[in-house]
Symmetry: C2
Subunit: 197 residues, 2 copies
Amino acid sequence: MKYPTRFLELIEDFKKLPGIGKKTAERLALHVITTMDDETVLKFSNDLTAIKKEITNCPVCGVLQEAACPICSDTTRDQETLMVLSEVKDVFVLERTNIYHGNYHILGGSIDFSRGVMPEDLNMDGLFKRLEGVSEVILSLNGTVEGELTSNYIKEMLKDKPIKVTRIAYGIPVGSDLSYADDQTIFRALENRRKYE
Amino acid sequence: MKYPTRFLELIEDFKKLPGIGKKTAERLALHVITTMDDETVLKFSNDLTAIKKEITNCPVCGVLQEAACPICSDTTRDQETLMVLSEVKDVFVLERTNIYHGNYHILGGSIDFSRGVMPEDLNMDGLFKRLEGVSEVILSLNGTVEGELTSNYIKEMLKDKPIKVTRIAYGIPVGSDLSYADDQTIFRALENRRKYE
């Protein structure tokens, strides 16, 4: 039997999502056709189209924003503390724990010489330009070689400035991604942050 | 931090898919925003909208079709054998094994008195109307109480007709869904089908 073309196309769409293989993609596409009502599918489709238009990265800190950045526009946050993260998704992990109330700065990756990712490919300039009034920079990068390298680079760049540079403590399992850490680990790691020298 | 509304909406959309919980839905929605390019997301969105319009169920056998039914319009298939299935998705399992070449008839469920699903709620009339020229009806329903009940009902309805009624053999684990069976199990079950009496 020849499968309907659009069905095969939708399977391919689902396969592009992380952690979704061929079998799961088939199951999801079938569910869309046979079980979901028209309205639900239409809403899903509209949300997909709209999200790329409506949601952008804040030009200052890199956090996802709709109209205004939910972090930068929140004046109740501690303006003297700036946390450096490698990815947008890490903000969600931190905000979920509700223990950090300073600002964020997202680099958009880590330095990785083997893949040709240099400091100038990341949002480093943006970081160095927004340090006025900042008394502490907390480096919350991944516990990987690349995260280490990036932390080290930033520490070196800031060494002559009157800013305390701390690093999130190694509660994060070494070699793993920050976004896999549970709330408790994040909490401990943040509590135990130490001066980075 | 307040999450962007559209982001929360997309998470809800993903959560409506089978096997996708809150955490996975968040991860998928984030991937759409941060990693997928606009073109890929737009195609995904378009495929979702289009699929409900383009793909329908064949009014005769119930198989998914685009323009014409891929099963009914295929005259090379054995027109004397008709396999009864409970769900559309079961066709994909059977066709994948490539060992059955007759026609299909999809009931759209199983008789289930506890949930008020009666024979008249299923496509039974359609089945009894398309038996001309059919010499064998193969019942490939789920190995559940409901599947058993439905097989039994059809057997009773056909007992006075000159049609051989067989049932797929119990290679399918008892109590499980047909769509979870692997190819080999399906193969064995079909090879060992026996007259249902």
